[in-house]
Structure formats: structure tokens, C-alpha cells
Amino acid sequence: MTSFFRLYLNRLLPQLIALAVIVVAVSLVFPGFLNLEIQNGRLYGSLVDILNRGAPVVLLAIGMTVVIATKGIDLSVGAVMAICGATAAAAITSGHSLAGTLLITLAVGILCGLWNGVLVAVLDIQPIIATLVLMVAGRGIAQLITEGAILTFNDPGLIFIGSGSFAGLPMPVVIWLVFGVLIAMLVRRTALGMLIEAIGVNRQASTLSGVLTPVLLIAAYVLSGLCAAIAGIIAAADIRGADANNAGLWLELDAILAVVVGGTSLLGGRFSIAASVLGAIIIQAINTGILLSGFPPEFNLIIKAAIIVVILVLQSPRFRTAFAFLVPARGASKPSERAAK
């Protein structure tokens, strides 16, 4: 168990170091960054704020990780967030109970995922294109549901999901923590994770060796749709309304970035949900950090781009083979890591 834990830590080390560097750097510029205080039984502070604001991207990144591990990609998550936010707002304002609203919304998210999954697994369409359809049409559908307006609601139960707190933590943080742990357990405590990686490495070979490829592929996209639905509910509950135009806008790119920062290759195969969650938090820490440190927000995107380029260079196969002799420890840890799985 301890060796398992150490290997786990080994995998997450680059992300943890990156996060630590960012937190230290920001707290040097903005001394109040690390302050935490409890008011009315709820934690407040910049660090909690990062976890809270990052909730939608963390959730999207969880689903995106599994999809990317199958060598796919899901561009539609932002649009699905908008659809689900609109569905939740429309359902609650038309008199459905909170439980009914949540069920309907999650079902819509699953349906969106099912559509993507069928296009990819059954019709054998390239994932980037298959999910592009829903990305383009999705916001139109969301606007159809809200009839072009921003649908607002006052249901205290639904608002609680966006701004309530549980055990001292904001509700969105509790949701992604529980959901993330559940999904990570599901894929790592069973053979599912390994089968998903097998599909990502070689779809044909895994089909030939008896993996139910179509079912698993569809399940991956359904999970991504479900994650987008939860993220959509949180985003809508946060602003107490559904904005079909802006809810989840460009978050698919942030989610993909989070997965890449987390070290999961876009070419499929080995993945780590915990690392992607860390990746999403790193992105949010950068965003919040730039705002807090008084740096002009105009530089936000450039810094983001620079970070992607650095990570890309470090991850690129060419760079790794060229500098493999410099990091023998990393190369040596790989087989043992694989064996542990």
C-alpha cells in the first residue's frame, strides 16, 4: 500500500510542484493569498475560492480525461453545459421539484453524451468532428430552451448547489471531490481503467482481444456528458440563471488544457484523473493569481499560452528521446509504475 501511494505521488509530482510554485509565487506578491478564515461555519479565502471557481473545469476535466484516454476528444462539453443549465432553469421554473429537475438535467447530459458516443463508436466518425456537431448546434439548442432570454430562478435548493456549503466547504467543491473520487475508484479499483487505456493505445487490437470497445467508448462519452451536466447545473446555480450564450463558453478548451497539464497524452492511453483535477486547479490558480497579484489581466492568455508551450515541449516524444540521458530516474520508474497498475 505504501509503495502504491509512493508511485501515485511520483505520478503527481510534476503537477504538485507546479501548483506549489504558483501558490508560493502568488503569495509572495499578494501576502493575503494563504489566509483562511471560518465565517458562519464556512471556510473563506483565496485558496478555497480557487477550488470553488475551478469546479466546472475540474468536473469537465474528469470526463475529458476518460474520453482522451480512449484517444478521443469531446469538444461539445461547453455547449452541453449550456444546454443542461438551460434545461435545469426551464425545469425548475416550470414547477418541477428539485429532484425532478436534477434528474431531467442529468438525463439530458447523458443523452448528449450518448449522441456523441454513438457517432464515435457506432458510426466510426473521428471524435473531433463528431463532437463538433454538438458544439456548433448545442448553443442554438440551449437558446431554443431558454427562448433567447436569460432564464432566472429563485429555487433555494438549486441555488444551494451553486453557493451553499457543506462541512465548511462550498457545495461545488464537495460535489467535484465526491464525484472525482467515485469515478477514480470506479476506473482504478476495477479493470475499467485498464480496458479504457487499451482502447486508447490500439482500438482494433483491444476489440480483437475481446474488449467491448463500442460499449466502453459510448460509456466514456456518456460520462463526459454527465460531467458537463453537473458543471452546467453548478454554473447556472452560481449565477441563479441560465445564460445560453456564455455558460461554459470555451471551457472545453480549458478542460482539454487541464488534461494536458495533468500529463495525460492526447494520443490516448495512460491517464490519471487526479492529475487532470490538479491540472484544472493549476489553471484556476493561474487565473486567480494573475487577478490577485495586480498583474494586468491582458497578460492572462499569453501566460497560459507560454505554459502550454513549455508543457508541450517537455511532453514531446522528440524532446524526451533527446534528453533521456539527463533524467535516468524517470525512465527507470516507468516500468515499475506500469507493473503497479
Binding site: I73, L119, L123, D124, I125, Q126, I128, I129, A130, L132, V133, L134, M135, V136, A137, G138, R139, G140, I141, Q143, L144, G148, A244, L253, I256, L257, V260, L266, L267, P297, E298, F299, N300, L301, I302, I303, K304, A305, A306, I308, V309, L312, V313, Q315, S316, P317, R318, F319
Partner: protein
């Protein structure tokens, strides 16, 4: 008839049918004025889509187009406001920057063996970020030369006008068609789309071709940015968000295979016009909301993907018995 022409013909038929339907409902759509406006309004999208066609033909993707358009607009606005540089010189400068930017992305994609998707995503952030750094405000361009350029047009019978930017789009498509089908570069692009390993074995200079493809896409995105700044007479760092998606959609509706290797620049032209036509119809109707555009375009996209799948399936099964 070769099956490879089928998507192109399908696109053309859909456009003509759609146009006929529009005319049946609103006879005024059949005027050279509407056609002239269709060209002018979609000029920037069409020019960018030509670059995207080459990228997609080679099996890649370029997400940075919209940001490069915004950057170009802001750059021109800032340069023209704060210096006495002639717009033509500023055009040349910004085209050089955009081309180098594209070439750099192509080089990273090839030499670091990274997926085009994530490299151009970084490029998208970088270009948009540079636009933000230049200015976060919408800057009007009041240079007299802009007014001169906007005043240039060719009159069509019936009162329509082909403006400078509309004509420029037609020219870019003509050059694009020649480049794709009549030059060695074009053949290399198609070969790359068929598979990098195969292309290399056939003697295609993979590195040079990849860099050139993304440089071309950058150049055309820059040109599209110039056209966009002429069209709006302003530079704004939040402009042209999502144009890359519209361009990809135009390419796919135009019948180009997204896995690369098969398609036509001319198809992209029709694909651009179809999107413009849907927009025009909704403007003419007045009661339909603009979100129907997105849903209709999504449906068209889906239909074309299915059509392509069907063609691949049929042609594979036709070949097998022989």
C-alpha cells in the same frame, strides 16, 4: 462519375436548392445586390476558410484563425493611430507577422511531433493575448486610405456591387484552387493527408510542406484580418471569436474529408456561401431567431459527415469484389 466528386456536387446541389427555396419565398433574394452582399459579408470567413482547407486536406487543424484575425485588426488599428505608417506598409508588416506565426506553429507541430490541435490551441491563446496586450478597447480606424479602399467596387447589372473585399475573396479562392490542383505544393498537401508515413516514403518533403501549410493558413488568416478591419473599420481584441469553427464548418460542408487527403477548395467556397445564405434568409425572414443558424449549420455538418461516411463505405465495398 468518380465518387470523390460526390460531396462537391452534393454541396452545390444543396446550395442551389436552398437558394431556390429562398427565392420562392422571397423573390428579392434573386438580385445581384443580395449576391454582392453575400460575397462582401462573408469575405473574411471565405479567405480564412481557404487556409483552413489546406490545413484540413493535410490532416491537420488550425484553431488560431479567429485570434489571428483579431490580432491583425488590433495591430492595424494601433499602428495606424499611433504612427504615420501608410496602411499598405502596415498590411505588409501584419501579413509577415501572421505568416511567421503560422510557420512557427507548423514547425512545432512537425519537429516536436505534437498534435496540431493542441499546438494551434496554444497559438489561439497567444494571438488573442497579444491582441489584448496591444489594446483591450475597440479602436476605430479613420485613415482616409481605408475610405478609399471601401469605396472601390465593380457595379453589376441590377445594382449589385462586388466590393474590393468580395472580389479579393474570389481571387483568393481562384489562387487557392490553382495552388491545390496545379502545383507540386498542392499535390504534397494531398499526399500528407493520405498519411505522413506514406508521404515520406513517396519522397514528399514532410517538414517543409507542414511548415508551409501552416504558414499559408497564417498568411490567409492575416489577410482575412485585414479584410475584417476594412469591413468593420475598427480593431477589437474580442472580435472574430469562433471564426475558426465557422471556417472548419465551411470546409466540411464543402465536402472536404476531415481526416485529410480528399476535398476541394471550390467546395469550401460553396460551404461559405451556404452559411451566408442561411444568415441572409434569417435576416429576410425577420421573425426567426439567429440561433436557428447554429442549429441548421449543425444539422448540415452532421448530414455531410454521414454522406462522407457513406461514400467511403460504398467505394470500399465496390473495390473489394474486383
Amino acid at each position: 462519375m468518380k465518387p470523390k466528386y460526390l460531396p462537391l456536387i452534393a454541396t452545390l446541389v444543396i446550395f442551389l436548392l436552398g437558394y431556390a427555396l429562398c427565392v420562392a419565398q422571397y423573390p428579392n433574394i434573386l438580385s445581384t445586390r443580395v449576391i454582392g452582399n453575400l460575397l462582401t459579408d462573408n469575405a473574411f470567413l471565405g479567405i480564412a476558410a481557404v487556409g483552413m482547407t489546406f490545413v484540413i486536406l493535410s490532416g491537420g487543424i488550425d484553431l488560431s484563425i479567429g485570434s489571428v484575425i483579431a490580432f491583425t485588426g488590433v495591430f492595424l488599428a494601433v499602428v495606424l493611430e499611433h504612427s504615420s505608417i501608410h496602411p499598405l506598409v502596415a498590411f505588409a508588416m501584419v501579413l509577415a507577422i501572421a505568416t511567421l506565426f503560422g510557420a512557427a506553429m507548423g514547425a512545432i507541430i512537425h519537429y516536436l511531433e505534437m498534435p496540431a490541435f493542441i499546438v494551434t490551441l496554444a497559438g489561439m491563446f497567444l494571438a488573442r493575448g497579444m491582441a489584448f496586450v496591444l489594446s483591450i478597447d475597440s479602436i476605430p480606424i479613420k485613415h482616409p486610405f481605408y475610405a478609399t479602399l471601401k469605396g472601390l467596387y465593380v457595379k453589376l447589372p441590377g445594382g449589385g456591387r462586388i466590393t474590393l473585399i468580395g472580389g479579393l475573396m474570389l481571387l483568393v479562392f481562384a489562387v487557392g484552387i490553382l495552388l491545390a490542383h496545379r502545383t507540386r505544393f498542392g499535390t504534397n498537401v494531398y499526399a500528407l493527408g493520405g498519411g505522413t508515413a506514406t508521404a515520406r516514403l513517396m519522397g514528399v518533403p514532410v517538414a517543409a510542406t507542414t511548415v508551409r501549410i501552416y504558414a499559408l493558413s497564417g498568411l490567409l488568416a492575416g489577410l482575412s484580418g485585414i479584410v475584417f478591419s476594412l469591413y468593420t473599420s475598427a480593431g477589437y481584441s474580442l472580435a472574430a471569436v469562433g471564426v475558426e469553427l465557422d471556417a472548419i464548418t465551411a470546409v466540411v460542408i464543402g465536402g472536404t474529408l476531415l481526416t485529410g487527403g480528399s476535398g476541394f477548395v471550390a467546395g469550401t467556397f460553396v460551404g461559405t456561401l451556404i452559411q451566408g445564405l442561411i444568415q441572409t434568409y434569417i435576416t429576410f425572414d425577420g421573425s426567426l431567431s439567429s440561433w436557428w443558424t447554429k442549429i441548421l449549420i449543425g444539422l448540415l455538418l452532421f448530414a455531410f459527415i454521414l454522406l462522407q461516411k457513406g461514400i467511403i463505405y460504398v467505394s470500399r465495398h465496390r473495390r473489394q469484389p474486383a
